[in-house]
């Protein structure tokens, strides 16, 4: 049976994405497990998320349509690259951002580790503040969400984000 992570990567490729870099997170470890061992993806495991953003910009200049994977803590690291490189220069990318520290479905406090609680609580507001269009990963709407995000990305020339909650891409 095809794993959720395999299906996700196939969908990304179907939507035109053909360059992959980033920093891992346990919430999408199923994806990086594939990227790490299959040379087809030419995955570059970056040392920092902002460096991954720069690498993605370079790949875009070279003709690719890049994906940058990161934990939501890495979104903080990436903030200046996002603002003062991608957004002002019109450099598109899909950011796949995990959602550590997400509250429960009824707003219950997250039981995640302390370092994730604040970013987890403000993640959606943070993306809105930074003017990054985003969708929250849901298997049933993933294809349509990726189509919409990718269209927005091409129209604006700026990054968009797919937020990945726990349990979606660990396998």
């Amino acid at each position: 049976m095809t794993s959720p992570s395999r299906r996700f990567l196939d969908l990304l490729e179907a939507h035109g994405y053909n360059f992959f870099t980033g920093v891992p997170c346990s919430l999408f470890e199923g994806v990086t497990r594939i990227l790490d061992v299959e040379p087809h993806y030419e995955y570059l495991s970056a040392v920092r998320e902002d460096s991954a953003m720069g690498i993605a910009a370079g790949a875009y200049f070279g003709g690719r349509q890049p994906v940058v994977l990161m934990q939501n803590s890495g979104l903080g690291v990436s903030m200046n690259a996002l603002i003062s490189l991608h957004q002002i220069y019109d450099i598109p990318a899909l950011l796949v951002v995990s959602w550590r520290g997400q509250k429960g479905p009824a707003g219950e406090p997250s039981q995640d580790a302390p370092e994730h609680l604040i970013m987890g609580a403000v993640l959606e507001d943070f993306l809105r503040l930074l003017q990054v269009p985003f969708a929250v990963f849901a298997p049933e709407t993933l294809d349509a969400d990726l189509a919409r995000l990718t269209r927005t990305m091409h129209e604006t020339g700026k990054p968009v984000a797919l937020v990945v909650p726990k349990g979606m891409l660990q396998q």
Binding site: F19, V47, S51, G58, F61, R64, N80, L85, I88
Partner: protein
């Protein structure tokens, strides 16, 4: 050696088939003032990331020589990327660092590159070749073969502090810099 003169000397050896990515601050502005080309990208913000941008381009266009003009402050801000460049084995990657041991664009506040030899860090990270030069004759000698032999390679050029008069700001707006650089890199697209 004045930085603007060193930048002009290195840039003059590069043809338009090379990609040239310049870091933010005076280095990009001095390159722009020396001579502008569609195959040159000027990073005006995102300090520290010029080498990452060059790496991404070098990875996807292995047959194109990619040259990064960097400063000591920029390299020190993202030292880990030296490891990424070395580990990626990008033989088409050439890193030229203009080192004045200072943040030249903000008033020459000192960095730490007088105590931390950046080219030795690159060597330890796994760059194939590194060379440090301190005067025009040394620079000319180093340039003779630097961009011919495979990389990743670093040429560190010691330059004086202080800025030259008459240095322009990069004139095209950032989206135009992106569009023309990408067109230059992907002529058939």
């Amino acid at each position: 050696m004045k930085r603007a003169a060193a930048i002009a000397a290195v840039a003059s050896t590069l043809g338009p088939e090379c990609a040239l990515v310049a870091c933010n601050g005076m280095i990009g502005r001095e390159l722009f003032t020396h001579g502008d080309r569609d195959s040159q990208f000027y990073m005006i913000g995102s300090m520290g990331l010029a080498s990452s941008i060059g790496l991404g381009l070098a990875l996807v266009q292995r047959s194109r020589r990619v040259v990064v003009f960097d400063g000591d402050g920029n390299v020190l801000m993202n030292l880990g990327t030296l490891g990424s460049i070395a580990a990626s084995g990008v033989t088409n990657f050439y890193h030229v660092v203009f080192d004045n041991a200072a943040h030249g664009s903000t008033g020459d506040q000192r960095t730490i590159s007088d105590k931390v030899p950046i080219e030795q860090v690159a060597k330890a990270a796994g760059y194939r070749r590194v060379v440090r030069v301190g005067d025009p004759a040394g620079l000319q000698a180093a340039l003779a073969g630097f961009f011919v032999e495979p990389g990743p390679a670093m040429l560190l050029v010691e330059v004086e502090r202080g800025n030259q008069p008459g240095i322009k700001r990069v004139e095209p707006e950032p989206p135009e810099l992106t569009a023309r650089f990408r067109r230059a890199m992907t002529p058939s697209a």
